[in-house]
């Protein structure tokens, strides 16, 4: 078990008074390399034994030549100190000696590291060996964990806790709860932090819009983000020099689309732009460029999607919508992002008209929970009449909800549509910000997971409307 885990368990047991922890300091001794060498014979013993062999007398030089200078010096010094020899004019004479039994026993004791008993610390021989650095001392702090309860009690705890803390099947069926008390919890303490899995509130808002549209019989359509300018502008009768087509407003990517499979639409677009075609319009009166229409961009609105689908869904009744990302060359701030969400729809009926469009818009507004609303004349290049829907939201006042209108006859001719079409579009983020009381559009897009994790689910569900 890792030490960290062990200490935390010990702390826990301590807090429950099941154990006490005693902390002591202990001294350990162990032989040095030198001590290990002398374990059988100390240098002074070697000196006197050599002298004895040599007949009790020898010169210092002779001793040094046999034992080596270092050993000889240490040995001679200690032998003199012990009174075993006398030195006179370079000669050594043996007096008397006895083996150092006690020293050897002591050295033996510390061949492996061991605790030094208190009594030994006062021992003269031990002190001498320490002083001569034959025994090295070290200190260690030791924690001793001791049970404060009987071993029997401890075993019981191992089986049931101090009382039963976790209910298990075993506890229940074996009726252990009758033998041991079910331990109370500290029910007032704070739990660890957990987060619920949850849907993103903005995605849920989009889901709500989808459900509204489905209830009115609209089908969702989708298209790619990278499209030629043709779908984004030209089929909507926006002149090629219109300021909203400037590279300061739209995001462009490299390359051109191959429009050869859309030759019919291209022909009609050219005709209507240049001189109105058969739509009854005078057109824009300029030379329309296929090259400009082929340029690839990131779509800047989703009317590009719904309008394009009308080319293939030209028989009424048609009800289509799309909710998807669009891109514009805006600098990110609290109100703008270069990528955001559009909600667009088209409706085609044999006898569709402006009054019905206002009716449909009112229905959508009511589904959104907006009960007070008004319509204002507006301008969009591809609808006539054009209208903006304003809704009244408590705390915000009148807010613009969407732009809408009847597709211009020029647009219908380009699309190859023979019946009136109503269309609307809106920025989803603006409305969601009002609905959820979020002041900064960037908060709708995840950067800070904590914002989503902590966004209460009770605030997400707006099926009751705005």
């Amino acid at each position: 078990m890792p030490l960290a885990t062990l200490s935390s368990i010990v702390e826990l047991l301590k807090s429950k008074s099941i154990v006490v922890v005693e902390e002591t300091e202990k001294i350990y001794g162990t032989l040095s390399r030198e001590g290990l060498e002398y374990i059988d014979m100390l240098p002074e013993e070697k000196v006197v034994l050599l002298l004895k062999e040599l007949g009790g007398n020898a010169s210092i030089d002779k001793i040094e030549s046999v034992l080596g200078k270092e050993q000889a010096n240490i040995g001679i010094a200690w032998a003199i100190r012990r009174g075993w020899i006398v030195v006179e004019k370079g000669d050594i004479r043996l007096k008397e000696f006895k083996f150092l039994e006690e020293h050897h026993k002591m050295l033996q004791m510390f061949t492996n590291t061991r605790e030094v008993p208190q009594a030994l610390l006062e021992d003269r021989v031990f002190q001498e060996l320490v002083k001569r650095k034959l025994i090295v001392l070290s200190k260690k702090r030791i924690k001793v964990v001791k049970l404060t309860i009987s071993v029997d009690e401890a075993l019981k705890i191992i089986e049931h806790g101090e009382g039963i803390s976790r209910l298990t099947r075993d506890v229940i069926v074996n009726r252990l709860w009758m033998k041991a008390k079910i331990k109370p919890y500290n029910i007032e303490a704070l739990p660890p932090i957990k987060y619920s899995g949850k849907n993103h509130f903005f995605k849920e808002f989009i889901e709500m819009l989808r459900e509204i549209m489905e209830s009115l019989g609209f089908s969702e359509v989708k298209d790619d983000y990278v499209i030629p300018e043709l779908w984004n502008f030209d089929i909507l009768f926006q002149a090629q020099d219109h300021p909203s087509r400037d590279i300061h407003d739209i995001l462009i990517v490299e390359g051109d689309a191959d429009l050869s499979e859309y030759i019919d639409v291209v022909e009609r677009t050219k005709r209507v732009h240049e001189e109105g075609g058969a739509s009854g319009s005078i057109g824009w009166g300029y030379g329309w460029s296929l090259k400009k229409a082929s340029k690839l961009i990131l779509r800047s609105h989703t009317t590009a999607v719904t309008a394009r689908y009308l080319i293939s869904y030209s028989k009424p009744p048609v009800r289509l919508y799309t909710i998807d990302r669009v891109f514009r060359r805006d600098n990110p701030d609290a109100r703008h992002l270069p990528e955001f969400t559009n909600f667009d729809g088209v409706i085609m009926e044999e006898d569709f008209n402006f009054r019905k469009l206002l009716g449909l818009l009112s229905q959508i507004l009511r589904h959104l929970g907006i009960k007070k609303f008004k319509f204002k004349p507006a301008y969009f290049p591809f609808t006539e009449p054009s209208v903006e829907g304003y809704g009244y939201v408590a705390g915000y006042g009148w807010i613009e909800v969407f732009g809408a209108g009847m597709f211009r006859p020029e647009v219908l001719e380009i699309l190859g549509v023979k019946h009136p079409v109503g269309a609307w579009g809106m920025g989803v983020e603006r409305l969601a910000m009002v609905v959820y009381g979020v002041e900064d559009i960037r908060l709708l897009f995840s950067k800070d997971i904590e914002f989503v994790r902590r966004f209460p689910i009770i605030r997400i569900d707006r099926l009751g409307g705005v």
């Binding site: 995605k203 983000y225 009854g280 060359r329 990110p332 009136p420 997971i449």
Partner: protein
């Protein structure tokens, strides 16, 4: 959208009313949003109504709507200018007129200059399409005017607010306007100029000469408009005349002599248009009887004159200053505005049966979102736009780059959803672990054989980041998903290797031999590169491929 700012009192005075609420209400109906701040009113006008780009134009439209004024025709008083055009290569068209007997003052002069700038920046496409010069007529050297390209080294002028005569080259080089607009119409060393009595009076679209400078004491104003589109040039001249005729009706015209045709400007004729009553009725959804009872008043409130109101047709005259009328539908809108949108009763549409086309997609995404939330994942909403430097850092290729992105942080589109989730995780390491995220969203893939080169694919991805990862967890979650989609017996995981994943801890999810997704643990080297210190495991599946597989099964 252009914004017209004016003193509230001046605007109310021009209209002849004193109720601010009434003013704002009428503006609302005329497509204008207005805001009042102290003494000032800011009015956002529609970009196609250039006749309302001036305070006077707005006032006139409001007077008409309130029936305080009746549409009336203005004639040309005199024709004194003769303009010889040798069409400049880059700027071939010109229109000229004058309005006499105006009491100009400081305020009016300032408003006029602002009006001119509004026309320049929006309708004039920053002077590229149309540019305007305003002159003091009394300072004009001669009524004979020339418009042609001149040599910029051989021709000299005194630019506006200067006193030195300098070469056109120097005007283009040294004046502020020269630097900004000098490149628009220059053709090698030739540049368009308007001359009168041997003097350059204007260098369109750059700057006027100082000799005909307008002053608060000016009484007679000469207007020149030049550009690349003759319709736009005439429309702008008419809009200016419309504004000035609030002060005086004395309009002086010019004969414009092109090499092979002669035009008179301004053309103040009202265009005749016939509207089909049947079309009005069908388009607006209003009874013909109702239309007949309302149309006359409605049209006059919007400034039209009526030639004839018949059973089947209404013949109207379109004001000379309305350049936005392309089709009878534009007049139909004005009828609706004249009646008032508030007076048109909305007719609800009845719900119809939905077409089934995309129902299966909705069913799949709904199921995926439900299951992952149930498994404890938090849904995110990320941008498709990601920094290209991030993609390059983790060794991703084949992604689309945006040419003119406003920010380095958003200059590419992701080609895998995990990329967006990883970026989120980088910023979330201080948060309580584990972090479990998922998202359904689009990625953009290269498609060389597609007409638009890059196509969307809808994907789902989920990730776990924790202090230690149990692979079984994310693996088990994948099987939950497969089971809930009834694909558990059909899908198989085959060992494979993918960038960003640990070799040996990465599997491809296959159905009928087609790879529909990937599962694995992220390579520690990649994690450290992007600054993630915790292990991450993830799954990414193609929702589009799932739906192709499930469609036949479900039907």
């Amino acid at each position: 959208m252009p914004v017209v700012r004016a003193k509230l009192s001046r605007l109310l005075g021009l209209i002849g009313i004193d109720s601010v609420d009434l003013l704002q209400d009428i503006l609302f109906n005329l497509k204008c949003e207005s805001e009042i701040e102290g003494e000032e009113i800011s009015i956002e006008v529609q970009s196609d109504r250039i006749d309302m780009f001036s305070v006077e134009g707005i006032a006139y439209a409001v007077r008409l709507y309130l029936e305080m004024a009746k549409p009336s025709i203005i004639g040309i008083t005199d024709k004194v200018f003769r303009v010889y055009v040798d069409a400049p290569v880059k700027r071939p068209y010109i229109a000229i007129a004058a309005v006499k007997n105006i009491n100009l003052d400081e305020e009016l002069l300032r408003d006029l200059i602002e009006f001119q700038e509004r026309l320049h920046t929006t309708f004039g496409r920053s002077r590229r399409k149309v540019a305007i010069g305003l002159h003091d007529l009394d300072k004009l050297p001669s009524n004979t005017i020339y418009y042609r390209d001149i040599d910029i080294d051989q021709t000299f002028m005194i630019p506006l607010h200067d006193y030195r005569k300098m070469s056109i080259r120097d005007v283009l080089k040294t004046t502020e306007q020269g630097v900004v607009y000098g490149s628009i119409s220059i053709n090698n060393n030739m540049h368009p100029a308007i001359l009168s009595g041997d003097e350059v009076i204007s260098l369109p679209p750059v700057i006027n000469s100082n000799i005909t400078r307008l002053e608060p004491s000016t009484r007679n104003i000469l207007i020149d408009v030049t550009g690349t589109d003759i319709k736009a040039v005439e429309a702008v001249l008419n809009a200016i005349i419309h504004t000035l005729t609030v002060y005086s009706n004395i309009v002086v015209a010019a004969e414009i002599m092109y090499p092979n045709q002669k035009l008179i400007t301004p053309n103040l004729a009202w265009r005749k248009m016939v509207i089909d009553v049947d079309f009005i009725s069908k388009w607006l959804g209003l009874e013909k009887e109702y239309i007949h009872s309302k149309a006359t008043t409605a049209l006059m409130k919007m400034g039209y004159m009526l030639n004839n109101v018949g059973e089947k047709h209404i013949e109207v005259l379109v004001p000379y200053y309305r350049s936005d009328i392309l089709h009878q539908v534009d007049i139909v809108e004005d009828i609706a505005i004249g009646i008032g949108y508030g007076s048109i009763t909305p007719e609800p549409v009845t719900a119809i049966e939905m077409e089934g086309e995309r129902i299966i997609d909705r069913a799949i995404t709904r199921a995926l979102r439900k299951v992952l939330v149930g498994l404890g994942y938090v849904e995110t909403n990320t941008l498709t736009m990601v920094p290209s430097k991030f993609l390059e850092l983790i060794g991703v290729g084949d992604f689309i780059k945006i040419v003119n992105s406003p920010s380095m942080e958003m200059d590419a589109l992701r080609n895998s959803l995990l990329q967006s989730l990883l970026i989120l995780l980088v910023n979330s390491q201080h948060l309580v672990l584990p972090i479990k995220l998922f998202e359904i969203g689009d990625v953009i893939l290269r498609c060389d054989e597609c007409y638009n080169k890059w196509v969307n694919e809808q994907r789902i991805a989920w990730v776990i980041m924790d202090s230690e990862i149990k692979f079984e967890e994310i693996h088990a979650d994948l099987y939950v998903i497969l089971r809930e989609l009834m694909l558990d017996g059909i899908a198989a995981i085959k060992r494979c290797s993918r960038t960003s994943f640990i070799n040996g801890r990465c599997g491809c999810i296959e159905i009928d031999g087609e790879v529909i997704g990937v599962i694995g643990e992220l390579d520690p080297e990649i994690l450290l590169k992007i600054g993630i210190e915790y292990p991450v495991a993830g799954v990414e599946l193609s929702v589009d491929k799932l739906s192709t597989i499930l469609k036949p099964r479900k039907n």
